[in-house]
C-alpha cells in the first residue's frame, strides 16, 4: 500500500512532462556545426604541417644552448671553486699544515 502511494508520487511528477514541446537548438545549428568542423580540420592541418618545424627548431635551440654552456662554463667553474676554498681558509685562518 505504502509502495503504491510512492509510485503515484513519481507518476504524478512525470505527468508534469506531459504535453511538453521539444526544445529548439540555438539558431544556425548546421552552419555553426560546419564552421566547427572546418576549424577542426584547419587546426589539424596546421598542427601536422608545423609540428616537425617546431620540433626541429626547438631541438636546434637546445643543442646550441647546450654547446654554448659546455664550452663556456667548465673551466670557469673549477677556478671559481678554488678561489672560494682559498678565501674560506683565509677567512677562518685555516692552513694546510699542523703544529703537531
Amino acid at each position: 500500500m505504502k509502495n503504491d502511494i510512492k509510485i503515484s508520487i513519481t507518476d504524478d511528477y512525470l505527468k508534469s512532462l506531459a504535453g511538453a514541446t521539444p526544445a529548439e537548438t540555438k539558431g544556425f545549428f548546421y552552419e555553426r556545426l560546419r564552421v566547427r568542423m572546418k576549424a577542426a580540420e584547419t587546426k589539424e592541418e596546421w598542427l601536422f604541417q608545423s609540428s616537425p618545424a617546431l620540433i626541429v627548431g626547438a631541438l636546434s635551440i637546445m643543442l646550441v644552448l647546450n654547446m654554448a654552456l659546455f664550452f663556456r662554463y667548465p673551466e670557469k667553474d673549477k677556478s671559481d671553486i678554488q678561489v672560494t676554498l682559498k678565501d674560506f681558509a683565509a677567512a677562518y685562518d685555516q692552513t694546510l699544515y699542523s703544529n703537531y
Partner: protein, 186 residues
C-alpha cells in the same frame, strides 16, 4: 529519404545527405542530451560533438541497428563524457586554495526545461533534480524511457544492455526517485 539510401549517401561523403541527417535528428538529439545534461549550452555543444563524431564514423555504421538508434547511442556517449568532465572539473576545483575564485561548475541548479508549460515548471524542475541525483545508468535508462518515451528494446539497444537489465535499472530508478520526491514534497 529511405534510410539505406541516406546511409549510402553519407558514406560517399555527400554534404546534402549530411545536411538532411542533421536537420532530421537535430532536435531529437538536442532534447535527449538536454534532458541528460540539464543545461542548454552544454546540450547544444554536445549535440554538435555528436554530429561531428557521426560524420567521422559513418563508415563504421554496421546496419545491425537503425540509424536513429546509432545516433542516439553516440549522443548518449557524448553526454556521459560531458557529465564525467563536469565531475572531474568539480573534483579538481576541490584542490584549489580557498582564496582562488571557484566556478560554479557541476553544482546542482534547478533546470527549467524550455518546452514545459508554465504551470508544470516547478514540478518538472523537482523531477529533473531528482533524476540528476540518480546513478549514471539509472539516469540514462529513466531519461530514455520515461522522459524521451523510447521502448525498453530501443533503450537496451542504445545502452548496450539487455531488456531485463534495463527493466531492473528502471525499477531501481523509480525506487530512488520516489524517496527523493517524497522528501521534496514534505
Amino acid at each position: 529519404m529511405e534510410e539505406q539510401f541516406l546511409v549510402d549517401e553519407l558514406q560517399q561523403g555527400k554534404e546534402s545527405a549530411y545536411l538532411y541527417l542533421v536537420e532530421t535528428y537535430r532536435v531529437r538529439v538536442f532534447n535527449l542530451v538536454l534532458n541528460i545534461l540539464q543545461d542548454e549550452d552544454d546540450a547544444d555543444d554536445t549535440a554538435q560533438e555528436a554530429f561531428i563524431q557521426l560524420y567521422h564514423s559513418i563508415h563504421q555504421f554496421k546496419k545491425d541497428s537503425t540509424l536513429g538508434t546509432w545516433i542516439y547511442r553516440i549522443a548518449v556517449r557524448k553526454a556521459l563524457d560531458k557529465l564525467r568532465q563536469r565531475k572531474n572539473r568539480q573534483r579538481l576545483l576541490g584542490f584549489l586554495p580557498w582564496w582562488m575564485p571557484k566556478e560554479d561548475v557541476g553544482a546542482q541548479r534547478d533546470f527549467y526545461h524550455p518546452g514545459i508549460a508554465l504551470e508544470n515548471k516547478e514540478k518538472a524542475a523537482d523531477l529533473f533534480k531528482a533524476i540528476n541525483a540518480l546513478p549514471e545508468k539509472q539516469k540514462i535508462a529513466f531519461t530514455l524511457i520515461k522522459v524521451e518515451g523510447l521502448s525498453y528494446i530501443e533503450a537496451g539497444d542504445i545502452m548496450g544492455q539487455s531488456v531485463k537489465a534495463v527493466e531492473s535499472l528502471i525499477s531501481r530508478a523509480k525506487q530512488n526517485l520516489q524517496e527523493r520526491l517524497q522528501q521534496y514534497r514534505n
